[in-house]
């Protein structure tokens, strides 16, 4: 599977490493190349400096042939915009988008994006640990 990941933070780098270990073809995109230090030395995929909300950068990252796109930058709105570009302009079959704000996540989920809110999930898990 060809996967493009936008954002090489802790989650992005970890996800890239996991997919790479399983033999997938991974490209990680980040505005700040310094972020690529988080990738393990064994990483065999591509790390590319660029803006994931820019169509040309996405093309360079191989979005046109990608089977999946994951948006995990720090900015909810950046993720939402990049995910919509991947889905509606490049017709990537699988698009997943992280949105911290639970209300925004709910909206974009109903609009047809595959979304995940670490805030909602994290709070629920913590609550279960505290009272459960």
């Amino acid at each position: 599977m060809k996967v493009v990941i936008m954002g090489c933070g802790r989650v992005g780098a970890q996800l890239a490493a996991l997919l790479d270990e399983d033999g997938h073809k991974v490209t990680v995109l980040d505005i700040e190349p310094y972020s690529f230090r988080r990738l393990p030395a064994s990483f065999k995929g591509t790390a590319l400096g660029g803006d994931g909300t820019d169509e040309d950068s996405l093309k360079k990252a191989g979005i046109e042939e990608a089977d999946a796109f994951v948006a995990v930058t720090q900015g909810d709105n950046r993720n939402v915009m990049a995910a919509q570009i991947a889905k509606h302009i490049f017709n990537v079959p699988k698009v997943v988008c992280r949105i911290y704000d639970p209300l925004r996540e709910e909206l974009y989920h109903t609009l047809g994006l595959e979304t995940i809110s670490p805030t909602r999930i994290g709070a629920q898990l913590l609550k279960d640990l505290v009272v459960g």
Binding site: N77, H88, L111
Partner: protein, 218 residues
Amino acid sequence: MYIIVVGGGKVGFYLTTALLNEGHEVLVLEKDVKRCEFITEQLGSVVQRGDGCEARTLAEVGTERANMLIAVTDEDEDNLVACQVAKRMFRVPRTIARINNPKNEKLFKKLGIDVTVSSTNIILEHIEEEVPTHPLVHLLTLTGGGLNIVELKIPENSRAVGKRMKEITVPPDSVICLMIGKWGALVPTSDTILEAEARIVAVTRPEAEGALRVALTE
């Protein structure tokens, strides 16, 4: 009309001033506390501190009764999300987004934003007008029709000089509406003779602009 402006920067501030002068009810959403204080000092209590992309903030300011939301921050992704949340969650009838990167125009339209204003393109067009050597100037884009109104100057060495309108091959979908000379302006007929140094105003499709320029200036 009740209009919500997202972003109280320079554009947001002057936009709000203009809308207030026209008698509209305006509310500005701005994240920065200093900027909020400045706008309140200048324009009165028209600001709410908050993130215009957040559904909770938009609910607090009564977005469901807003007639229009205009997002003018300097981040395209923020303008996109503010408009989408307003449109999809609060059914705001009209959303307008400022775009900084002209490449985003197509995307925003596709994602349901009613109107996009590309500040970069507008600035480019105005500078184009002021560059004297530029052969073809965009005066206006007719929304929805895919047509532009353009202006060209007929140089002295053009083959069109001295010819009648009917002798000129104008590309299809292009109409010459006006010839402006030192003597004033006229609506040309098929017998009008094209003069050197005259300015031509024409309606054309973007793809025919090149052919129109060749017909009149080369």
